[in-house]
Symmetry: C2
Subunit: 181 residues, 2 copies
């Protein structure tokens, strides 16, 4: 089985390959605009445009970080915050609030044999001062509930066994297996 | 002369009418998706989609707030921050940083006789604790450089004589007058 992943992120591609193995994931580099709005809308619009361009079985994803103190923000705009301020800068914003709980979320939009589907996975956790060696996104400042380590302090295999992305991609795997028998 | 303004914001419409008078501004309610990205791209994509739908002379706008401490963020996402946290909540975020300077910016995308143009206006200022009676967007927390009052403490006429929106719409007026002689 194989599937194309429309992404420009080497980190997301690596994780998707590890999580979905032995399904073969091919990177597809397309210019797919991202909307402002709720993660589901963003994923739905992206997968629609990507499929119009590529016409092959594929998926896209939108990952968001919803901080309780910020009423769900930065949400899908987290990549701009990480891109401009780093995880450290996002921590600096949150550190001014006593409430540090957050939800990490991946929404996957996929097309399998011409049919569009949406899958989502989320993990509750806490925003903490940066710890760990991985520099991927908000990994250094996100500590999943019940864990003493941030995502960035875990091995790739450990993170991939519990992450928001894992949960979303497991749903995608199930949809794929259902179609391919 | 008349021109359609594609917006769902009663406040933006009111200001545009006051600033552009005696040009007649008609509100056009269209579903125009907003992209993530830089304000110019957002305005350009919006005006493109709006014109494809309406095929009349029209304009759209994107207003952003670029905080120095946040490396230009929340930028075009400011409406989501104001919508979820209020101006008070945005002040709370900024109050944790010693650097409070910010730029308020309006980018206008317009189509006049089938030709697309972009106009922009900006005002430098400081983010302050909320003051004033107007509840429009970030007006209560934005104090323009050289002023002792926030936008929300000024009369509509005063704000409209100096604002970022005024500067952008003046450029639009000039473009319009150039086309209509």
């Amino acid at each position: 089985m194989k599937l194309a992943f429309v992404t420009g992120s080497a980190n997301k591609l690596k994780e998707a390959r590890e999580i979905l193995a032995p399904i073969v994931i091919e990177q597809l580099a397309l210019e797919v605009p991202e909307l402002q709005g709720e993660p589901e809308e963003i994923a739905r619009a992206k997968v629609h445009v990507a499929y119009q361009q590529a016409r092959v079985d594929l998926f896209v994803e939108d990952t968001s970080l919803h901080c309780q103190a910020l009423k769900g923000l930065p949400g899908p705009y987290v990549k701009h915050f990480i891109g401009k301020l780093g995880a450290e800068g996002l921590w600096q914003i949150l550190s001014a609030f006593p409430e540090r709980r957050a939800v990490a979320r991946t929404v996957v939009g996929f097309v399998i044999r011409g049919k569009v589907g949406i899958a989502a996975g989320e993990v509750s956790g806490t925003i903490v001062a940066p710890r760990g060696t991985s520099a991927f996104g908000f990994d250094p400042i996100f500590q999943p509930e019940g864990e003493k380590r941030t995502y960035a302090e875990m091995s790739a295999a450990e993170k991939n066994s519990i992450s928001h992305r894992r949960k979303a991609l497991e749903m995608l795997r199930q949809a794929l297996e259902a179609h391919h028998g």
